[in-house]
């Protein structure tokens, strides 16, 4: 199978500042045709040609799944990140041609649920925007609890409240408001599914609280794309392609493999989908596993690595790639 999902050549139709940190980007097909239908929770991988390197970052599609005219994503600027969000904020203008991937959904609604309880933190609101549109169209039963830093950073809160007043609950950190999670989870009717997307701490808090309250694992869904961590540069031997490559400080192992012209599979580039799993043939050193995919036993075995997010420190690393 080739790397990633099938690609779509697009033009940037609109770049809209949402607030001081978040900007929205709208993409239409270059050939004028309709976008592939997607489902709420899906993401697309955006390719960025940033001078001599190609960055690829996953972003949730926030537009209406019923609208095939365009895809929209919202990106929060991360001044200390590796540069993808800064590239999007600083370089991308309407009219620019870009390439994005077909939608991939790793955070789909469980359509058996009698009720969907959506918990968003900050920019984690984006997959829910599409899910809410999908649920509204199907008359689905949902409730959104959205935690924001301040009113001015509450992306799309006004629109959500205007359209779904009774179903939307907002919490402002700066006013000291917090979701009363145990009470919220405890009071849900049987058949409720809970979905969480937001900062790492929030995801862990929701999953742990739900487990402690006896929620079945299958009824708790989360999505988090990890940004690849920076770290010390290291060298890797790609055995099948017979290439020795160097992974830079701010580069991921996957990016370094791609930069060497070697095809490597991926779907999420965030440690969640399992697609990039690669066999380790030899190593002398320590793995810095960062993904959500490998089991602790697999991590300890030293035979697998997820190159989209994980790194290595040591003398030799030989991969089956």
């Amino acid at each position: 199978m080739s790397a990633g999902a099938a690609k779509i050549p697009v033009t940037v139709a609109e770049v809209t500042p949402v607030n001081e940190l978040v900007t929205r980007f709208k993409f239409v097909r270059r050939d004028g045709g309709p976008m592939p239908t997607f489902s709420g929770g899906a993401h697309t991988v955006v390719e960025m040609n940033d001078r001599d390197r190609v960055r690829r970052n996953p972003y949730s599609i926030m537009s209406d799944p019923g609208d095939r005219g365009a895809y929209s994503i919202s990106i929060r600027r991360d001044d200390n990140g590796r540069g993808g969000s800064l590239f999007m904020h600083r370089q991308v203008r309407p009219g620019m041609e870009m390439v994005i991937s077909n939608p991939v959904n790793l955070f789909a609604l469980d359509l058996r649920a009698r009720k969907h309880l959506l918990l968003a933190g900050g920019i984690g609101i984006t997959p829910f925007l599409a899910q809410i549109k999908q649920l509204s169209a199907m008359n689905g039963n949902f409730e959104l609890h959205y935690s924001v830093r301040s009113a001015s950073l509450a992306s799309y809160a006004d629109e959500l409240v205007a359209n779904h007043r009774s179903r939307v609950h907002l919490y402002h950190d700066e006013r000291g408001e917090q979701i009363d999670l145990p009470a919220l989870l405890d009071g849900q009717p049987l058949g409720t599914h809970v979905y969480v997307c937001g900062p790492k701490g929030m995801i862990a808090w929701v999953r742990n609280t739900a487990t402690a309250l006896g929620w079945p694992r299958e009824a708790v869904h989360h999505e988090e794309f990890l940004a690849p961590a920076s770290g010390k540069p290291f060298e890797v031997m790609l055995a099948r392609s017979n290439k020795l490559i160097r992974v830079g400080e701010h580069q991921s192992l996957l990016e370094a493999i791609e930069a060497a012209g070697v095809e490597a599979p991926y779907l999420c580039r965030g440690g969640a989908c399992g697609q990039c799993e690669t066999d380790v043939l030899e190593h002398e050193g320590t793995f810095l596993h960062k993904d959500h995919w490998l089991t602790p036993t697999q991590c300890a075995s030293g035979t697998k690595i997820m190159p989209c997010v994980s790194r290595f420190e040591g003398r030799t690393l030989v991969l089956d790639r």
Partner: protein
């Protein structure tokens, strides 16, 4: 392309036959002289004009008769089509996939006109014309999955994806090789594959499941599977085993060429966009041994494959008792010459 639809039956008098053109395009499943169970998945891309791989959903000369057979089976047993409530959206996805690809790939047979949610569907071979509202079940005579699969050859397993697994939560199954939707509905991937010998130890299912979970929208996949069936029965369901199982006893060296059929399933896999479900169409192609041996390469190779097949696979595929007779019959067509690689006739 013009397809001439044949009048034929898949029960009682069994008038099913392949025309010489249909024999030529038959998906013979053996690329080499031996067979072992494998995942053998490849992208479902248009390939070889005229072959069964050319279109998204192949429509051939048996279409009209097969659809009549499906209606007959459903009338006897409505449980062959089921859909759990959460799968209705996937049914619409499937309807859209089939209607749009058929209308595009067979414009002389099918038409689809869309004006927003107002759709107008024309199926010429079956004489159907239907105006309906997309996503509004009340505007169709059946649920969306049942409606469209009553007009599409092959069985359909519609799988929900959750908890890193696939669940058989809907389907239309009337042309199956001895399995039953009614037994399997609600089961996950490992549960419904439980009876396949050897495959578990080989880790095949783990690998296949991982592949399927990652089938992407716009990148469908396919594989071939096969078995043997006595008489051209599309419906070899466990529910009706008492009716077709006994036919295996009637097989002789004299009637072998007419009665024994190679049964090939073209299985495809599509990610459905609205529901994120996976659909698994299983199209069944039948060929009599008399028809098969008109292609010398297939005749030779099929003899070798059947002769050397491990006993547990012959048992699983249900022809172990008849195997000596089948091998004896086929041996007359094997002159020992080498065969060329690949599945296509020379």
């Amino acid at each position: 392309m013009t397809v001439i639809f044949k009048e034929e039956t898949f029960h009682d008098d069994f008038t099913f036959r392949n025309s010489p053109e249909a024999v030529k395009r038959f998906p013979f499943p053996f690329p080499e002289d031996s067979y072992m169970y494998s995942v053998n998945l490849e992208p479902h891309k248009s390939y070889r004009p005229g072959s069964v791989y050319e279109r998204t959903f192949d429509v051939d000369e048996h279409y009209v008769s097969e659809m009549r057979d499906r209606a007959r089976v459903l009338a006897e047993d409505p449980l062959r089509c089921q859909s759990l409530p959460h799968m209705t959206l996937a049914g619409w996805d499937l309807l859209e996939l089939i209607m749009t690809s058929k209308a595009e790939e067979y414009p002389e047979l099918f038409e689809l006109h869309r004006d927003g949610a107002k759709w107008h569907w024309i199926n010429r071979p079956l004489g159907i014309e239907q105006k309906f509202t997309f996503l509004d079940e009340t505007t169709l005579p059946y649920g969306p999955m049942e409606y469209i699969t009553r007009q599409t050859q092959g069985d359909f397993a519609v799988l929900d994806q959750r908890d890193e697994n696939l669940w058989m939560d809907a389907g239309m199954v009337t042309t199956q090789a001895d399995w039953s939707l009614d037994f399997d509905i609600g089961m996950n991937f490992f549960e419904w594959h439980a009876p396949v010998p050897k495959a578990h130890e080989m880790g095949i299912f783990q690998r296949a499941l991982k592949f399927l979970l990652n089938v992407q929208q716009g990148s469908p996949a396919r594989r071939l599977n096969w078995t043997m069936t006595v008489n051209p029965l599309l419906d070899t369901s466990p529910e009706n085993y008492h009716k077709w199982g006994v036919m295996k006893k009637d097989l002789t060296l004299e009637n072998m060429g007419q009665m024994m059929h190679l049964r090939v399933e073209l299985q495809t896999f599509f990610r459905l966009p609205r529901s994120n479900a996976l659909v698994f169409p299983i199209r069944c192609y039948l060929i009599k041994l008399d028809e098969l041996v008109t292609v010398p390469k297939w005749a030779r190779r099929f003899h070798r494959v059947i002769r050397d097949l491990p006993a547990e696979l012959a048992t699983y595929k249900g022809f172990v008792t008849n195997r000596p007779k089948i091998v004896e019959w086929l041996s007359k067509y094997d002159d020992g010459a080498p065969t060329s690689p690949g599945i296509w006739a020379d």
